[in-house]
Symmetry: C2
Amino acid sequence: MELTEIQTATVITHAELLHHWLGHRALTRRVIAAFPEKELLEFSIGGMRTFAGMVIELLAIGAPGLKQMAGGETEPLNENVLEANSKANILQLWDEATELIKVYWDQIPEDRFHDKILAFGQYEGTIWFSIFYFIDNEIHHRAQGTVYLRSIGITPPYFYER
Amino acid sequence: MELTEIQTATVITHAELLHHWLGHRALTRRVIAAFPEKELLEFSIGGMRTFAGMVIELLAIGAPGLKQMAGGETEPLNENVLEANSKANILQLWDEATELIKVYWDQIPEDRFHDKILAFGQYEGTIWFSIFYFIDNEIHHRAQGTVYLRSIGITPPYFYER
């Protein structure tokens, strides 16, 4: 079997999945940027977290989770160390995390995506399963943020623009 | 190269991606079921659609979109034909769509996931790209539904239970 055949017989390639995630991350960045700072840090609905609080969770998961998969030490999930106390800081942390994700991604080859790991020392699953969880969880919280935006009269960025 | 090696050198297999989507569909079903009928059909935030309206969009996309990929005729996106006028009807349409998705999935082999299509006669992309869009769009609208639920004092089903 030729390598080209293997490529085209694949549901999604390693490079495509990264590109897909980076498209989502660019959209999430635009949703963060669409919030006025006060509402980003303070507004919530129905007792939920602020959107800043949700983004802090996403920051604690994405790059640190990939770092472990790339061979780094397994560290517990930690949402407390981030200085996400202003819109500018949150956007900067987001951009730094995106750069780290690109670096770690190349250190996790395709043939390791079915390796079993214990993400953050507690979540059992394969590497692909954990990465899909990270992406899906980002889509989930970003969508909650779009309801916050609508609720304060701001039209969110389009879902289909990445 | 052995077939087993090809399998493990894949980011996610054909069967795993279906299983992943079906897990999301089961969760979306639980979110629909968590709504009282009145709020499902009438409640909204910030001028957005009702959650029933969003689910009608998901019904118009998932199974019909896969049907085209499986070799069916290309039909335009149609959100108007569905009799989604009660909670019971919506849940029944959801279950029927899930069964159709399983049938069509098997008719779209892995080696076609990089074929270019024009989904619903208007959205250009590969099959994998369209399917990821369908899944991501479901996660997106379901998450908006969870904010509606919180807003009316109902705890949504957990995101990580599929």
